[in-house]
Symmetry: C2
Subunit: 197 residues, 2 copies
């Protein structure tokens, strides 16, 4: 469910002003908005290290509060590969198509298709570091399904659902996905910080 | 602390799009924005009844998701008056000045100046009703202090602070006030609804 607009039923302009300032509105700014076009460093060996490395890079460069995520697909039969190397799994000229092709080929002989998506978000807020995680269990299909999403979404079917992430609306994916869950924790935290609770 | 802008350190435009749609942005709309200029009905005998009555009125009129608050000042020595009648305590031509004058006059002979501010927010979201409360303890001073805030703020000093609500920044007031606490609960709820958790 998407809540876009909500009415505050008051004729009292003081209350309206107070409530508007109490309800935090996050403005999410992307790197392009800041004129940062270079590739961010990502040389860690864990999702957490990579997320923090990217956030630190931007924080040091801009001084702005900043978060970054790193996400990996861990496949049980492949000893949790591609994991932290998910984005570059198929090597130098990797892209989503080649990455999926490699995974499907490696999994060909395996009955066990269990996999999980993990996201770690690193937040740097006023010089302090915070981390938020989200995980979703699922399995790797035999072939791609769906055109939405990105990365490994077309071959990942989350537990309890019939569609792959690439067949879902962005709203449904956000509700149940690794990244959606991590973002939910991030937002709850930022709301608390904002209100000082 | 006010978080206005936060950078998402990613060069991946798919991730940026997904995160932007996952982080809910509430747009708070006031009655004037909707062309509603009449006084809202407020004939209940409790804060909860009044809050719901106002929210229902606007919901029925506009069909928009909507919340309203009702707030009362309960003073121990006055048997919890003015309570639900806080806004109109000094009668027909009531205003904040006259209301405060009446309270200070009634309290003149009392040693016990303990009071609490209570807010109840009623939310109508997709035809369902929800309530969120916030309370702050404090005491009524002998005379007004400060020029910010509104209503009884100049004579209410919250527990643990040296200033009245009328001497505080809106950010500090929101952190600790009855309304700020109720709003925090409202926002947490809306975030959960949004993400379906």
């Amino acid at each position: 469910m998407k809540i876009k607009k909500i009415v505050f039923a008051t004729g009292n302009l003081n209350k309206l002003k107070e409530i508007k300032s109490a309800i935090n509105i996050f403005e999410i700014v992307g790197l392009k908005d800041l004129g940062i076009t270079e590739e961010l460093p990502e040389t860690g060996t864990t999702l957490k290290e990579n997320a923090l490395q990217k956030a630190k890079y931007v924080y040091n460069k801009t001084g702005l509060n900043c978060f970054s995520d790193d996400t990996g697909l861990e496949i049980e039969s492949l000893n949790n590969r591609p994991g932290v190397y998910s984005a570059m799994y198929s090597g130098a000229d990797c892209n989503a198509e080649n990455n999926m092709r490699k995974v499907l080929s490696e999994l060909k002989t395996f009955q066990n298709r269990k996999a999980k998506f993990k996201t770690v978000i690193a937040l740097i807020l006023n010089d302090k570091e915070y981390f938020f995680e989200g995980t979703v269990n699922g399995k790797i299909l035999q072939k791609k399904k769906g055109n939405d999403g990105f990365g490994y979404d077309p071959i990942f079917k989350p537990e309890g659902y019939k569609e792959t992430f690439a067949q879902m609306s962005i709203e449904l994916k956000n509700k149940i996905s690794h990244r959606g869950l991590a973002v939910y924790k991030l937002v709850s935290f930022l709301n608390q910080e904002e209100l000082g609770l």
